[in-house]
Point group: C2
Chain length 647, copies 2
């Protein structure tokens, strides 16, 4: 790699007040964090108890009882703490911090004398640690605790949680590896790898990085570790695992030989994040090639237009190239969180805007679709087409929920959405000593130190309603640095003015670069067109043949029954459809809606028979589209992204 | 009911030599029956052993060992015997009959002293008979044995098997019912009901009919029997059953209250056959209304154009009205067998050709799709659209097989196809004392006794290649009887000539009726047009919006990759497509192929990206369609029934 990896800015330095995201970011501190705390403590009466905090209390000796929940139930607490850490940076809250401190005390008490931490094994099978790596998620759980501990240390300067997790990480590093007496295995669900790398960055302890590398290098070697492990297994915790192939856990071949995204999507993507990190840290160009090959496979062959991945419900898996059904897909919210993190890592390493095009798509569409505007309901599965009555609870489509759910037995997604929204600031800028990269156009203020000068940035826009963005750059003295502005892939007529003067910047890998001396105050005006338009799909994707999607900039639009009428699938766009944009301040906190004339096949005129030689009759209809990320926030009904279009 | 129920003719009286079906019917005796015998005896080395005959030998004390296979493994032997019985009628074969006799001797030896017969319980859990009706298929298995025994008695006049099954039926009648000491339950998988009715017709023992009625009346009464039964259940044989609702087994409400086809499709349809029979036998108009309501629901809202049903793979179930996806459907071959039987019963009772329109569709398409032209490979699942590479074995589409399979762990379908093909003659005619109804236009010769006269019929056609059918009616003397000819729903310009003179018959419920005195020899010429055409689908079916299917008469056509090219889904029909028919004698035993000009979206010209604002480019292509029933008999590849059509 030629360049140093860029960094995100500290969240506490970024003040976001954005027309699109603030409605969600505020939710995290105001609703999601307190609500999820209530759920984790089993204080919500209208849902199944989580048992998450109860398990920790029992393991800590504070309560009597037995373990309940999934083997990875602890991760709900970990991800909650991580979200809290991010939230405290942007919105200090002593009462919340006290709750978090108390939870950390509980976690410390639940830790075993040798550093081990996992309430499932401590309470259920203390003698069986690390013996069922394929199924038991111990290292996955450890990873989430570590991520939370690193974040909490950064947010509060309090080291206790980090110390707790370093002790567990030390145990893991001692337990796993190629030395004699060590376990030569690796996690059934990746996550520890990226977490150990974060821990390395927080502590500079090289062994954490090395163990992360060990896990990646060892994965998929012959003989397959899970094959060996299963020989000694009496019983499967998840009976389905018996039928899973090794692609499920990306252990079918060594990671360096992998060239297609396969298997469980979240497992895969968490691993790819670590692969990117390791490629950078070890300056390992082969590993970086693997990472880029996998990226191209995912985004050009296996990704929905909404930035979601994993088209098979069975196994929550990637399937094969161009297999992207719209109404039976899985598209787990967690996978989109991971895709965004992976893209951010690659953008930071490669300084290439193409990664942020995908990250932005993921954040503006599937991430926000993951949570309701109330902050209390969540999507786990993110379909691109829903007809509620066909999501029969006893059918193959039972995984598709036409409305967001209050919680899940496996509740990975809600806290993942929370920690990501709470850390949105990480995605806006990337910096090193002499550069500031603007990735996303959220309205915000921040201050950055570059080349020993302090730079204050104030970015204002009504993006994604328009592509007019003003960035006010203020320095206390003259400071030389490079300001790079991402030119989105959808931007037309991209132009920049500095203090009202048009400028022609150098463009490198999708960034317009302004490398100059900045004096006191400079007003940068970024302008590009991003009119709503119809996007078509690669004809190798069977589900989208002769269909179009309405897109405006990064925002994918959908039709909802509540704005339209029944049987959205029978709508057909006109060949040269005119899309009319208007901003509706009163709709779901303010949103640009898109309207058009179209036609619809008329059901009543067809009659009662299923099949006939007669031609369907059409009627003219007016259609209205809203951002996909906001679907399902009003009256339940049909939703569709890909609309028939005879082009 | 006004009329007596019509009967099929004895199979032995019908000699079929048909351009479409003979390739399959001959297979039954020549290949399928011997091949399946080899499988049932574990003599095939390239597949998992069936254990079916072995289980019977062990239960009969002839071999040592333990039970293997599904709880209903015995039914493979039963359905094989039923197919043999039909085959022996049309093609006597003393060696085959000897094998069948020996199997029947074995079954008799495996029967328990009190009449009980089921190798699973006899060998595995003799004390647990009839205690797990929900899962264990005992009554289902009994039903198939009974059907076989009735058929074998009719075919050979040998009563032994019938006597064996009467003893078991007597035990069942004594065991189940509303009397004190009887079990108030009913089968988890329906089949015994229709079998007991067949046994009643064979024996005239009313208790068999009454017990069938009891099973139907008791089903779904409150409290639900399976709910009660499950309270005492230690363990589920099929763990999935724990999650199944009561709609799965059509026990959610009493049968008389059911108005939509729900749950497991084969369970439902086997029950509906019995409901039709009982409605007739007890002259029960309420039950007949239920039956007709369910029929309308199935054929007008839940049936594929190919005559298959059950759109959900999970639970092999019906889902909801108009939910008919083409590439994820289940459409079990057995369900089509049952649909054809149900339709035949209703046609026999109601004398309405509309039922036979559906039966014909089922037989000409999905039934024959169920077996390869070699007779040794079978489809269990019958998709209407297949892209082999997306039928990933670890994905939600893992149930869809792009090529026919040699056998199945649950091997219900192959012998079901065999027994149905072997009894095709049952579907051609329906008769009573003074009427002959012609339902299907298979080339055949038969002799019928009506009104004390003997009538010889010789039907000649190249149907379904054309709608020109000649029926030569010969009587030894003048005989008065009604000859009714079905006017298919697809027939255009239907006309009839008698001895070359055009006649205008009375038409009743879809039959052209010729009620007259028939003298010696009369030549009837039936003519109708059934040019290939594009059929559209009710717009309530999302999967078929802006698509068309090529259909010629009862035959649904499909495109196969081997005749065309890759990415069949990207083909778009022209608005006024001209379909050209030609008969290809050399293709798969002779078949009418249909060709047309169309366009296809060009993948290479699209490029590598998934999503783009550019318009797809089209190229002109020539397409060639073959009958759906014959798909998958050549090089494996894509297949599609519903083709994009911007109409």
């Amino acid at each position: 790699m030629n360049n140093k990896k860029l960094s995100s800015l500290p969240l506490g330095n970024i003040n976001i007040n954005d027309s699109y995201f603030t409605r969600y970011i505020d939710l995290v501190s105001d609703v999601i964090i307190p609500h999820q705390w209530s759920i984790l403590n089993d204080l919500e009466t209208n849902m199944e108890p989580s048992h998450c905090i109860a398990n920790l209390k029992i393991a800590a000796g504070e309560e009597q009882g037995s373990f309940s929940g999934m083997v990875f139930q602890d991760t709900d607490a970990a991800k909650w703490l991580e979200a809290v850490a991010y939230s405290l940076q942007t919105k200090p809250d002593p009462i919340l911090e006290k709750k978090a401190d108390e939870l950390i005390n509980l976690i410390a008490k639940a830790q075993q004398p040798d550093g081990y931490l996992n309430t499932y094994f401590t309470l259920t099978a203390p003698g069986e640690r690390f013996q069922n790596l394929e199924e038991c998620h111990e290292l996955y759980t450890a990873g989430h605790f570590i991520e939370a501990a690193v974040a909490y240390d950064q947010a509060t300067g309090k080291r206790k949680f980090l110390d707790v997790m370093c002790r567990f990480a030390d145990l893991i590093c001692a337990t796993f590896g190629m030395e004699k007496g060590q376990i030569h295995g690796y996690p059934g669900h990746q996550e520890i790898e990226l977490a150990l790398i974060r821990l390395y960055h927080a502590t500079e302890e090289k062994r954490y990085l090395d163990t992360a590398k060990y896990f990646i290098e060892q994965r998929g070697q012959t003989p397959n570790y899970f094959d060996e492990e299963s020989k000694h297994k009496k019983e499967y915790i998840f009976p389905d695992f018996k039928d899973f192939d090794r692609e499920y856990s990306q252990s079918h071949v060594p990671v360096r030989q992998q060239d297609k995204a396969v298997g469980h999507a979240v497992r895969a993507l968490y691993m790819y994040i670590a692969v990117a990190d390791l490629a950078y840290e070890y300056d390992d160009s082969q590993l970086m090639d693997v990472c880029e090959t996998l990226w191209e496979n995912v985004v050009n062959r296996q990704m929905y237009i909404t930035g979601s991945v994993g088209s098979s419900a069975f196994g929550e898996r990637f399937t094969v190239d161009y297999d992207l059904p719209n109404d039976t897909n899985y598209s787990e919210t967690c996978a989109t969180v991971a895709l965004a993190q992976w893209g951010l890592r690659l953008a930071q390493i490669k300084r290439d805007a193409k990664y942020m095009d995908i990250v932005e798509r993921a954040l503006y569409n599937t991430l926000v679709a993951g949570v309701s505007l109330s902050g209390k309901e969540f999507f786990y599965v993110n379909p691109l087409e829903v007809q509620p009555r066909t999501c029969h609870p006893s059918s193959s489509k039972r995984h598709v929920k036409p409305v967001r759910q209050k919680w899940f037995a496996c509740a990975c997604c809600p806290p993942n959405v929370a920690r990501t929204l709470a850390s949105m600031g990480n995605f806006i800028y990337m910096v090193d000593d002499d550069s500031i990269f603007i990735n996303l156009f959220l309205t915000n203020k921040t201050a950055v130190n570059v080349n020993d000068g302090k730079v204050e940035l104030e970015m204002c826009s009504d993006f994604p309603n328009s592509g007019h963005i003003t960035v006010c750059v203020e320095t206390t003295s003259s400071v030389a640095f490079s300001l790079a502005v991402r030119i989105p892939d959808y931007a037309e007529n991209f132009s920049v003015k500095l203090d009202h003067e048009p400028v022609s910047p150098i463009v490198q890998k999708g960034y317009a670069i302004f490398d100059r001396m900045w004096n006191q105050k400079t007003v940068m005006e970024i302008d590009f067109k991003m009119a709503a338009k119809i996007i078509h799909c690669n004809p190798r994707v069977r589900a989208n043949i002769q269909k179009g999607a309405i897109v405006k900039g990064p925002v994918v639009y959908c039709l909802e029954q509540t704005d339209n009428f029944e049987n959205l699938a029978a709508i057909v766009l006109e060949e040269d459809v005119e899309l009319t944009e208007s901003y509706d301040q009163s709709l779901m906190g303010g949103v640009t809606v898109i309207q058009a004339k179209a036609k619809q096949i008329s059901s009543p005129e067809w009659g009662g028979e299923l099949y006939s030689g007669k031609r369907p009759q059409y009627k003219s209809v007016d259609i209205k589209a809203v951002p996909y990320g906001l679907w399902g926030n009003r009256e339940a009904g049909e939703m569709i992204v890909w609309i028939h279009s005879p082009i």
